[in-house]
Amino acid sequence: MLSPDTIAQRYAQHLLHATGAMPLHAPVAPARHPALAWRRSGLMALTGRPEAAPAMCLVPLTAIADGALVALAALAPAGALGGDDGAALLAERAAIAGHTRRGAVSPGGACRLLATRDGAIALNLARDEDRELLPAWLQRDDLRDDAAIGAALREQTMHDLVERGRELGLAVAPVVPPPTPATAWCETLQQGPRATAVRAAPRVLDLSSLWAGPLCAQLLRLCGADVVKLESRQRPDGARRGPPPFFDRLNAGKRSVALDFTRAEERARLRALIERADIVIEASRPRALRQLGIDAEALIDARPGLTWISLTGYGRGGARENWIAYGDDAGVAAGLTWLMRQATGELLFVGDAIADPLTGLHAALAAWATHRAGGGRLLSLSLVDVVRHALQFERPADAEALRARQRDWAAQACDEVPAAPQAPVSRGTAPALGADNDAVLRDWGVTC
């Protein structure tokens, strides 16, 4: 079969080349124009001011998602990911939750683009308690309402607000252009011994929550992995409190283990499960795991064949590993909102928590390819760098090329009404918290 020469196809080849993996089948991306896919996937309906027409995005994000999914499918058993569509996957949470476009407010409502003295920033107050940090962040005790917060923000600089916000653990990002130097979508931070034989159905321990990590683990399950979702009894995945169909979509088919991390014997079980896993996926700040006695670097050295996927907002190593990011503000930090403003003159979010599903897709590819090659690697993917890398792929070289893309893409089915996000097919129901504790400990041979 002759592959169509599309951006998605080229992106799939680019990713496969980066992983060094030998495809089991030729990757074949859907032959559709990224602008048309943007219009039909529901992403366009999610982007723009609510009272105005939906906005085209001049970055081929749908093709990026399609390409990443197709690259993974090329390494997986035939048909494993057959029913899935990369572009639709980017809009599936919005479809389930009924989100719509809100301009400078994220579709989910937690993240806002705000003016400061010298530029705009994104602030994501995903937890109610984050509001308690605003007086310390702005050094003001008189923040009665949003107007007072807005006035305080306009007295301070982006730089100071971002630096201070990061120190306080707020998800805050500056509206900045994408960086020019090439950004890697995945970094290998440590190499340990490889396995001599790898399991066709690897044991995956998913320690992550929300969207990116659970999506990564779900894609690995579809590829044939035995996936265990491990949660803290005290702080289970917050997505359990969100729309059930979305939690089910990401977690159906996994087995659930819940442990009490305050008890020494349960922390020992956590470590025993990690020692028996082929692939570990986590989205914690490294210091949080170290405080539980878990040292990813040491495990890579000690356990041949282990693939460790570290998901962070901004990357691992140095101060950045402690900076918080969620999907919407990570897209802003990567440059998406800056590019949209260049094209439309407006401050807008692009899609719904866009960095989350993009990172989940890329992480699944990295994990699967690395495991097949024998593991023994600590891989770091960050929400911001995955989006930066996507923005750099076949980026128009100059203003003239950008205008040409704008003309061409705007003309794609321009008389077609942008579709609303479409609800995905159910994969079943996710397990209740801790439903499989005994079975997993037995099957994985944990006796402590």
Binding site: R93, A97, G108, A110, C111, N124, A126, R127, E129, E132, L133, P135, A136, W137, L138, Q139, R140, D141, R164, E167, L168, G169, A171, S209, L210, W211, Q234, R235, P236, D237, G238, A239, R240, R241, G242, R285, R287, Q291, N322, Y326, G327, D328, A353, D356
Partner: protein
Amino acid sequence: MAKTALKAGARFKSAVSDAQVMIVKAPAGEFELACGGVAMVGGTAPVPEGATLAAGDAGEVLIGKRYVNADESLELLCTKGGKGTLTLDGVALEIKQAKQLPSSD
């Protein structure tokens, strides 16, 4: 020892270790905020020389953790870890329980 007003956003550093904190919220009035038995130093003021950790204080301030008093009217964030127990008017502060994970972002 000197009492001082604690304002949201103000920074204090330990006189006996590397520990540093930021005030997240505080009640009105003046208090003595100390680490390892010695008053913490506000803002950019110089740290007095020769201060030492109170004998028998095995406490440690952990980076990223929040500390509160009994009624949680005072809350601090540790921005740099170090030795010593944090106290407000001589009463030790406790680590605040970790925030619940968000339900979505």
